[in-house]
Symmetry: C2
Subunit: 322 residues, 2 copies
């Protein structure tokens, strides 16, 4: 299976590692909008300008799209899905139906398969939400995120006057998680589910009071949460907060005829982008296999039989893992 | 979707409840090898002799087979799979490949779909094993069962001279689970993973020392485990041990380029048979839908797209759960 990567940020780098670890895959290249000479890949795989990708159509079985959901993927996925099997991690929840339609139309035009919105949320968490509801129709589903770094919230802090750098952690409220685990099926407000912890490096002579107030009152991002702000030095940020860990938990709390049941799926990830890449690569395998079966169009994690994700044969998998 | 149940033990009764809870399903009958007059269903649904089932072929969309794996299912599943869509919870791991072949042949002969070995293990746990390996190829998978009642082990104790009744709990060793969660990837012996706790009601004047020794030295069942035996009264057994709880955890501990990741899936079930039935009913929905798409043959949880398990439309599911 010949794989190529579009975009060489954290996700692209993670994909490069994941493909190297897959016994049935070969990485043929990285495509970038930057000058290819300015990009140096970890494995030495060649870098090409993105605009030349169509010339390599016949040398690539599946493309892993590693761009961002804000501007890259809404354009790239439909554009490329007409000529390639593609997989992306599009995560703007509200725009998934539209993205699905666009990718579906393109894939069907080209007799290809696109897999959108895989990773862990959307992705493995979504899978557990659908399983939980299907198996226990009477019940409630809870998703807790963290403890982990939110890139979007960190960026929002960095845009404040006087902030040099920042790292924001989303933290699930332990008491809320415990109440769900106890089968209480509580109704939880936004504030009751997560807190936000911010580590901020201020510019010299910056107005710390202003920064803290601006963070805590920022609508959408922080206003509805209990937020704590810690001012630290650049060295402390580098030493203690340079990783990109994340994770979280999906809990389905349901009942059958008076008996209570709990289904819980948790992730604890040292590197959010490397894990997301690993999911992308497993679903890239499925995209290629679905195309071979001529099951064209756009798919999500809901549409894909798990057996297509694993390199082993169906016989081996039934024998060893069932 | 018209559903019928074969076998009216704990699993059949759980299936009856689960079908009643499904908005898109109707229970048309229970089939039994016992005299139908001797069986009284909870919902009042009619009971028929199993031998007459073929006459109702056109009135049933899918059969949920609720017999045991030792003798019922190896016979019933292939027999019925030729005429009906069927789903079973066959759980004799070593014989799954043979059971699959037999069911596959029958289903393909009849242009039907059979789904075998669903429940939670095999079943949802298997799904998490394949996902864990596919996403994190470098790593180890651990399955812990319990704390929960093992029917097979309880039965084995009941067969000992002087035992009136017994309940056996399989208990995961907390320290082992913790080591796995810490990312230590330990090699764990059978004894290090689970302990066995037995609650025994002895006959009057029975030789307690003999009973305890016989349990602890029983090969396969207890010999390789640290086993504790508690003698209790019949009243205590009834009061404290009448439920059939179970559960457990599948953990994939893996790494990507030096970063560690943990995927954990846990179940905590008040009623093992009712939960298993709930899984069977969700996969019964998928069996019927796959038959409508003419995707005939035998399937396992590995082969089934999750979207087929849920009564809602693909559009709604993408919008609400992805």
């Amino acid at each position: 299976m010949k794989v190529a990567i579009v975009g060489y940020g954290n996700l692209g780098k993670g994909t490069e590692k994941a493909v190297a670890n897959a016994p049935d895959m070969e990485l043929v290249g990285v495509f970038t909008r930057r000058g290819p000479d300015s990009v140096k890949t970890a494995t030495g795989v060649p870098v090409y300008p993105l605009k030349d990708i169509y010339e390599m159509k016949d040398k690539i079985d599946v493309l892993v799209l590693c761009g961002g959901s804000a501007t890259d993927l809404p354009q790239q996925t439909p554009d490329l899905a007409k000529y390639f099997n593609v997989v992306d991690s599009f995560d703007t929840h509200a725009k998934i139906p539209e993205h699905f339609e666009n990718a579906d139309r393109a894939s069907k035009e080209g007799n290809k398969v696109s897999v959108i919105s895989v990773g862990w949320d959307p992705g493995l968490f979504s899978l557990n939400r659908i399983l939980g509801e299907a198996v226990l129709p009477s019940g409630s589903t809870y998703t807790f995120w963290g403890k982990g770094v939110s890139q979007g919230h960190s960026d929002a802090i960095r845009r404040i006057d006087g902030v040099k750098d920042a790292r924001q952690y989303t933290v699930p409220v332990e008491d809320a998680v415990q109440r769900v685990r106890n089968g209480e099926n509580p109704t939880l407000s936004v504030r009751e589910k997560h807190t936000r912890e911010c580590f901020v490096v201020a510019e010299e002579n910056a107005d710390l009071e202003y920064i803290e107030k601006t963070i805590k009152e920022m609508p959408n991002y922080f206003k509805d949460y209990n937020t704590t702000v810690h001012f630290i030095t650049e060295e402390e940020l580098k030493k203690d907060h340079s990783g990109i860990p994340h994770g979280g938990t999906v809990i389905r709390s349901g009942e059958t005829g008076g008996n209570k049941h709990l289904i819980e799926f948790s992730l604890n990830l040292d590197s959010n982008p490397e894990f997301t890449s690993s999911v992308l690569v497993a679903y890239a395998r499925a995209a290629y296999r679905m195309c071979q079966k001529r099951d064209f169009g756009c798919k999500t994690i809901f549409d894909i039989p798990p057996i297509l994700l694993h390199p082993q044969s169906p016989e081996e998998l039934r024998k060893n893992l069932l």
